[in-house]
């Protein structure tokens, strides 16, 4: 019987405190009756092996005790979808805000790459804290709701008297479902892309096409564009050529209805190339003086401020594109995963 005592002691450890003695006394009475029954059936005491088998069949002490717990979960099935939805949205927004703080606000307030790196390292901790707080709030709500059904009875998903007319209107995506781009739209897109490319290629020889009368001011100003802009320009041209070729191939293959998510993601990745080219320009030199020997004393200070301003502007653009890209990529992975689950 020592093994029975040890077993009950192990069960007791996981039982609700207030009912431990009562449950253990009942379990003991039932188990002892069962053992007695078996012993009278066999006409002898149970062997060690038979006793082991009996206890094994009863189940692990933790499992046995768990069945006596009133609530086996933190967040029940009724409000779990709402919890998951809130958690997803909150984590996404916290991540976006943290990234903006790390990539834009931190460099402005604390110079140096180390401060950005430190800010990035803090993000996982912040995300975990956010998830923990949301889980705690929902667990407390569900705990209160199961004990006091009136709590939160008007909340969406819990309210049994909900009205179907209160459902949100169809989203733009749903109303458009099945309606892709027409052939004419696809052709017009390619034609305008080609015209844009021609315009782009004409700009170096005819800057008037871009700046209009401002060209005269630029010609008289003491500043000129640095070679980094040429690298940027040719990257933009290459990007446009790739897009036109890709869209033309889609048109020939009869796949003009909609561009796939992977294609959109790739275009965004390509879009990062010209920005990176500018950001990595030597000494952040975007504008230089036409005659440094003459104008350095007068315009040198302004020049430095302009170059820093341009660098900061492109840093912000880069951060925004990276965030968009991360969001699209996460969305694509999620869609992919959902489709795979749906396909079984």
């Amino acid at each position: 019987m020592e093994l029975l005592d040890r077993y009950l002691q192990a069960v007791r450890k996981y039982l609700p405190l207030r009912r431990q003695d009562d449950i253990i006394a009942e379990l003991r009475a039932n188990m002892e009756s069962q053992i007695e029954d078996r012993e009278s059936e066999f006409g002898r005491p149970l062997t060690q092996g038979e006793f082991d088998d009996f206890l094994r069949k009863m189940g692990h002490p933790m499992v046995v005790a768990s069945r006596y717990q009133p609530q086996q979960y933190l967040i029940g099935p009724t409000i779990f979808p709402m919890y998951l939805y809130v958690l997803r949205i909150a984590l996404l927004w916290v991540f976006v805000i943290c990234m903006i703080v790390a990539a834009v606000v931190t460099p402005l307030t604390t110079p140096g790459a180390q401060s950005v790196f430190d800010a990035l390292l803090r993000i996982p901790g912040i995300l975990i804290q956010t998830a923990a707080w949301i889980t705690l709030v929902f667990a407390a709500f569900d705990f209160a709701r199961t004990r006091y059904p009136s709590v939160g009875s008007q909340i969406e998903g819990v309210n049994k008297n909900w009205s179907p007319s209160s459902l949100p209107p169809l989203t733009k995506d749903a109303t458009r479902a099945g309606k892709g781009r027409s052939f004419a739209q696809a052709v017009i897109e390619i034609v305008f892309s080609a015209l844009f490319l021609v315009w782009l290629l004409l700009i170096p020889k005819h800057p008037f096409l871009m700046l209009g009368p401002g060209v005269a001011y630029l010609q008289s100003a003491p500043y000129q564009l640095s070679p980094a802009w040429w690298s940027f320009f040719w990257c933009v041209v290459a990007l446009n050529v790739i897009q036109i070729v890709w869209k033309s191939i889609d048109l020939v293959r009869g796949q003009w209805q909609s561009s796939g998510p992977m294609q959109q993601i790739l275009f965004k990745v390509f879009g990062l190339v010209p920005i990176t080219v500018l950001l990595t320009a030597p000494d952040h030199n975007y504008i230089s003086l036409k005659n440094p020997a003459v104008d350095a004393a007068h315009y040198g200070q302004n020049l430095s401020q302009i170059n820093n301003g341009i660098h900061l502007a492109f840093s912000v653009i880069c951060a925004i594109v990276v965030l968009q890209l991360s969001f699209d990529l996460a969305k694509w992975i999620w869609e992919h995963y959902r489709n795979r689950i749906a396909a079984g």
């Binding site: 006394a25 009942e26 039932n30 002892e32 009756s33 189940g59 009133p70």
Partner: protein, 117 residues
């Protein structure tokens, strides 16, 4: 265990869960303590694990469907359960529901175009 077997096992447990409650309530029209109740159910062809039955009795008592008392029998203190007044009403309604479901399923299976037999 294959996926199909796991699915079957989960569905079987789901199906049994409600039936067991009904059987326990029905059996407790007569007073029993845990072990004898389990033996009675087994004799009627309904095997049930101890680790399922004993907590179920507690839960039904908390819900007011069973009444219990500690009493000495064979020199041992045992907790005896029986159906409460509320439990009798609930059992009657559950039995109506059970019979209705049973008849419906039978009619579906007996229908001329039923493929599952």
């Amino acid at each position: 265990m294959t996926v199909a077997e796991t699915t079957f096992e989960n569905l079987r447990l789901e199906l049994r869960r409600g039936c067991l409650t009904l059987a326990v309530l029905a059996q407790l029209k007569q007073e029993h303590y845990g072990y004898t109740l389990r033996k009675e159910l087994a004799e009627h062809g309904l095997e049930i694990d101890e680790s399922t039955l004993y907590p179920l009795l507690r839960r039904l008592e908390t819900q007011g469907l069973l009444a219990s008392e500690w009493r000495e029998e064979d020199k041992r203190n045992k907790r005896f359960y029986r159906l409460s007044t509320d439990g009798e009403h609930i059992l009657a309604r559950l039995l109506d529901e059970w019979n209705a479901i049973n008849s419906s399923v039978s009619r579906i299976l007996d229908a001329p175009n039923a493929e599952i037999k």
